[in-house]
Structure formats: C-alpha cells, structure tokens
C-alpha cells in the first residue's frame, strides 16, 4: 500500500496511536482484563452519545493548549515541558480575578482569562531567562519550575484563595466570570472556542509573521538563523511566552470554563498532569497548532472514554496516561516508519 507523501504525517501519527493502543491492550490483558471489552467501553464512552461527544471536547480543550506549549517550544528548537507548572499558576491567576475581584459582566470574564494567561507567561519567563542568558538546560529548569509551582500554587490556594468553610477547594468563580455552558448535559463551555481561537492565532503568528518565521528558522536551522541575524535570546523568550500564555489559558479553562466546581481544588487535582499529557498530544499533532487541535480531540476521547472503561470493565483510567507515554515513546523513533515503509515496499 502506498500513501501519498502529503498524507504521510497523518498516517504515521495514526499508526503510532494504534501501536500505543496495541501495547496498552497487552497491558490490559497482562493484568487479567479483556482488551476488546475495555476498548469497546472506551469507544462507547467517548463517542456513544451526543453527551459523551461533548464531554470528549471538554477534555480536549486544555489538552490542545498544553500541546501548543510543547509544540511552540519544539518549533523553536526547545523542549518546554513546563506547561504543567505554567498551567497551575494560570489556574491560580484566573481563580484570583474570577473569584475575588468583582467586575461588570463581560469585562470580568475577559479579565479572568487574561489573568490566567499572564500568570502562565510570567512563570514561563523564569526558565526562558535562565535558558537565554545562562544556557540552563530547559528540561531540568522547567521540571524544577513545575515542582516549585506546585507548592507555590497549593500555598496560594490554601492561604489566600480558600473558600471559607471548605478546605478542599478555592472560592468559586463569580457568575460574571464563568464561560457559558454550551449544553446542560455536559461540562463543555464556550472556553473551547477561545482555546481553538488561540491555537489558530498562534498558527497565523508562526506562519504569517516575520517573528514567527524567525522562531521556526531558529528551531530548524540554528546556524542559518544566526547568519540571518536572528537573535537566539529573543526566540527563546518569545517561544516560552507563547507557550506560557497557552498553558495559563489551559489552567484558567479548568476553573472558569469547567462546571460543576468553577474553582481550583486545594490539591490542584482538577489540573494536575494536563501539562504532561500535552506532550503526547503535540507529538501526535506533529507539533502543529492545527494538528494539536485534532490530536487533542483524540486524547480527549481517551480521557473521557477511559472513565467508562474503568466503570464497566474495571481497567483503571490511569492506563490511558500510560498509553499516552507509550505513544510519545513511539513517536520519538523516526526509523520505525522508515523501516516499516521499506518492508512494505518490498
């Protein structure tokens, strides 16, 4: 079977996801469950009804944003795995403005969203500055920032944002700072459109402006970029700031765009791991903002369907995250598909 060259990224991504599903199936089988039953429940849970489909999109919303964080980093030649921490602080920033600063309707929603994005971008500046001017390895510095952000965010949530009488979560967003729920049967809100819109804006920026071109050039060919007069520090800071804005929006979306809590749990339980999940989403989406949107729907389906899989077949939904890791692992091996193609061509 020969695939046209233009479709190759798509077929390779889908084949990798299939590979991940097969490996996950082996794990399910190894722990004494039926992979067929598990995946049937997963598919039904993700796409079975209109309600499920909307819930899948609700799960996809933060993922397309944290995927954007990683993707913009890779486009600039950087491994920004700090979406996790940037997202925590985005959630904290949004919670503060949405829950404690009363404002007129309309303005309030915008202000809370922007506060989340700004908090994420500010947190991203730490590894950006360390990378640009000290040469600090961004993988280590972003992971350290994630852990510091975890403790800082829990501290802020418990000491300054807690809802009186309810230790487990922060004050809920005021009604003026909540995205409208799109359908009463699911937790999907209009924040989905903001997420998709932001991804498209980033796409237009990276592929339509001079700064965006320079960023991609620096990632693809650092030497050529340097000869062309691109300043590497600027590229580092720019890509981290865009990534931080996206991650901050992802954190905000889970507070002001996700019923029923409309708040941040003190353990950060409603946002944790969404940042790491974005890595797989970005890779399957070929580090492209639009690809990331599509891949996020796929991973959102895994997350939503995983709940029914756990409920009906007893396979823990954590397995979905293990699957995600296997997919990332397989995406790292370019030779896999070259080898496979050669074998098929024979």
């Amino acid at each position: 079977m020969r695939t046209p060259r233009a479709l190759r990224p798509l077929t390779e991504s889908l084949a990798t996801v299939a590979l991940g599903l097969v490996a996950g199936g082996l794990l399910i089988w190894a722990f004494g469950h039926s992979p067929v039953a598990a995946y049937r429940a997963l598919a039904v849970g993700a796409f079975g009804t209109r309600e499920d489909l909307l819930e899948t999109l609700a799960f996809a919303t933060p993922l397309m944003l944290t995927a954007l964080t990683f993707a913009v980093g890779v486009r600039a030649g950087l491994f920004n795995i700090g979406a996790e921490g940037q997202m925590y602080l985005g959630a904290v920033g949004a919670t503060f403005v949405a829950g404690m600063v009363p404002m007129p309707a309309g303005v309030h929603l915008a202000a809370a969203t922007l506060a989340g994005m700004a908090a994420g971008a500010l947190w991203a500046l730490i590894p950006a500055v360390l990378k640009a001017w000290r040469g600090a390895h961004e993988v280590i510095s972003t992971i350290m920032c994630n852990w510091i952000a975890l403790h800082l965010s829990m501290y802020l949530a418990i000491n300054f944002l807690a809802e009186p009488g309810r230790a487990e979560r922060t004050v809920p967003a005021l009604p003026t700072a909540r995205y409208p729920v799109l359908s009463e049967e699911s937790t999907l809100t209009a924040v989905l459109f903001v997420a998709v819109g932001f991804a498209l804006v980033v796409y237009a920026y990276l592929w339509g402006t001079r700064a965006g071109y320079e960023l991609r050039l620096a990632g693809e060919n650092p030497d050529a970029a340097r000869y062309a007069g691109v300043r590497p520090e600027r590229v580092v800071v720019l890509s981290f700031v865009i990534g931080g804005l996206a991650a901050g929006l992802a954190g905000a979306s889970q507070v002001i765009g996700r019923p029923p809590a409309w708040s941040l749990y003190a353990t950060l339980g409603n946002v944790t791991t969404l940042g790491f999940d974005g890595i797989g989403v970005a890779l399957v989406g070929r580090n492209h903002p639009v690809g990331g949107i599509l891949a996020a729907v796929l991973f959102g389906a895994l997350a939503q369907g995983g709940r029914l899989m756990e409920y009906e077949v007893g396979v823990l939904s954590e397995l979905v995250r293990a699957l995600n890791g296997i997919i990332v692992f397989a995406m790292a091996v370019p030779e896999l598909w070259t080898l496979l193609r050669r074998r098929l061509a024979r």
Partner: protein
C-alpha cells in the same frame, strides 16, 4: 566562577548544622537524612555519567525511579527480603535503560522525547500498578521487616546502599579513567566513527552503558521505599530523577564530582525535612516553601554552571555509519 559555588556549598555545609543546632536539632540527624537523600541521586547520577560519556542521554531517570520503586516493593514482598527488592528494582531499571538505549541506538530515536515518553508512561503506569498489585490507590505501606537495615558508622546510622553508592562512584571513576573499557566508553562518546573503524561495536558499548546506568537508577529507585521511606506513594521520586540529571551536568560527567553534587542536594533535602519538623521554626516557615528548597537549589545550580561544561561531542545524537 566555579570556586565561588564551592565556597557557597562549604558555607552551607558549615553554617546549616550550627543554625539547626541552635534551633534544637542535632546536626547528626541532618547528616543522616542528607546521606539517605544523597543515595538515590548519587546512584542515578553516577550511572548517567557513564551513559552520557558514551554519548547517550537518559531523561527517563525519573520514570526508572518510579517504576523500580514500585516493582522493588513487590519483589521484596514476594521474596520476603528487602535485598530481593533491591535486586528486582535494579533489574527493572536495567531493562528500562536497555530499552531506551535500544531505541536510541537502533531506532535512532530523539532521546529527549523517548525519555519523556518513559516519564509520561510512568506517571500513568505506576498508579495503575499500585492498584493492580495491592488494590489500594496511591499509597502502599509494606511490613517494616522488609526494610534494608541500617548499619552504625562514625557518621551515624547509614544504609548499606549508601556505602554501595559511594563505592560505585569510586569504581565508576576508576573504570572511566584507568581501564581500557573506560577509554573505549569515552572514545565512543567523542568519536564513534573512530571506535567503529578500530573494529569495536559502537552499538554494544552504548547499550552496555545504557543498561548499567538504568540498573544504578533502578537500585536508587528501589532504595527510596526499601531503604528510606518505608512506604510507597505514587509520586515517590518527586522530581529526583531530574535533580540527578542536574548533578550529572554540575559534575561535568565525572562520577566523583557527581557524588559530591548528590551529597549537596541530599543535604538540602535533609535540611528541608529538618526545618519541616523543628519546633519553633516549622510554625513560622510555611511547609510549602520548605518543600521548594531542593528544587530551587537545583534551579540555581543549573543556572550557575551549565553552559560552560564540555560534553562529549556526540552526546544525545545517534551514530550511523556513513
């Protein structure tokens, strides 16, 4: 510039115990905790020094810590001995290291992405494993007699694994700088084509260091529950895999310096846990800020030294014959 940091480290080493003593905490227990915290970092960092000398990078040390810790407790319970657990943890670490090495060498994988894949995998697989093995979410407490017993030394109660970590660091140093194999490992990181032309197998040398590095990280992971905490939690390593990577960079891939860096970070960890329980201090400093200390220190060290270390010329890049 570097000596400033050694001075700062020395000042912390001398000053911190004094401060703690005044706050009512004996420095011996700080050193004991520091040595415990040093052990997994030192093991993983020494192994990763070898691995990076040969030209590979393992960003998945964190995953090896997490998976090995979990599997080691299972091995300990099945074999009714903490030492069985340590062996099992090292074996699982070796397997994961070998797997990552194989995709890097034969699959020519992007090593950072493959390593992150392993980390994301562990993030989901370990909670899954915890419930699958013990039917309880997030935490598992095992019988106390499975703990690897500590031995008395002049510096307090020390785990035999700690002593092994120190010995392994010295051995790794001697291996790298005094043996033919060590020379080959360094050569394969600098000029793999020369090693290839000399008739040696580039792939086997790199698989060897990847496996040994994985085994040492696995031993470190097994040490976390069986030699230190006495229980298993789903995020048991809490970023230590990345702190070990920072030790490697700080040490410029030299095992003995990596041991020193691990001690520095271990003492910071010990200092943090001491502050968290010291009466009079713990009321004034929020726990959340104390918990940040090891990460903030790592961030500071990474910012201070990296960029001026020289790495093998092919580190992180796959080798292919022309």
């Amino acid at each position: 510039m570097r000596w400033v940091w050694w001075l700062v480290a020395a000042a912390v080493l001398v000053g911190a115990p004094r401060l703690l003593e005044r706050a009512g905490l004996p420095p011996v227990s700080l050193l004991e905790t520091g040595l415990l915290a040093m052990t997994p970092l030192a093991l993983a960092a020494v192994g990763e020094c070898l691995n990076e000398k040969a030209g590979l990078v393992n960003i998945g040390l964190e995953a090896i810590f997490m998976v090995s810790a979990t599997v080691a407790v299972w091995f300990a319970e099945v074999g009714r001995s903490g030492y069985t657990g340590l062996l099992g943890g090292a074996a699982v670490g070796a397997l994961l290291g070998l797997g990552l090495g194989a995709v890097s060498v034969y699959g020519r994988a992007d090593q950072i992405i493959a390593g992150m894949g392993l980390n994301v995998f562990a993030l989901g697989f370990v909670p899954f494993l915890l419930i699958s093995l013990w039917a309880f979410p997030g935490i598992h407490v095992f019988p106390n007699e499975l703990m690897v017993p500590r031995v008395s030394t002049p510096v307090g109660q020390v785990s035999p694994v700690t002593l092994a970590a120190v010995a392994l660091a010295v051995l790794a140093h001697l291996l790298l700088h005094r043996t033919v194999l060590g020379f080959r490992i360094r050569a394969v990181g600098e000029k793999p084509e020369a090693v290839d032309v000399a008739g040696l197998r580039v792939d086997r040398l790199r698989l060897l260091t990847a496996t040994v590095g994985g085994a040492l990280a696995g031993l470190g992971g097994a040490f976390l529950p069986l030699g230190w905490f006495g229980a298993l939690v789903k995020e048991i390593s809490a970023g230590r895999g990345f702190i070990a990577l920072a030790c490697v960079v700080f040490a410029g891939l030299e095992p003995l310096l990596a041991l020193g860096a691990a001690l520095l970070f271990g003492l910071a960890d010990g200092f943090a846990s001491a502050v968290a329980v010291t009466p009079g201090v713990k009321e004034r400093v929020p726990f959340y800020f104390v918990a940040m200390i090891p990460y903030a220190l790592t961030l500071g060290v990474v910012a201070a030294v990296i960029g001026r270390r020289r790495f093998p010329s092919t580190v992180g890049r796959p080798y292919a014959r022309e």
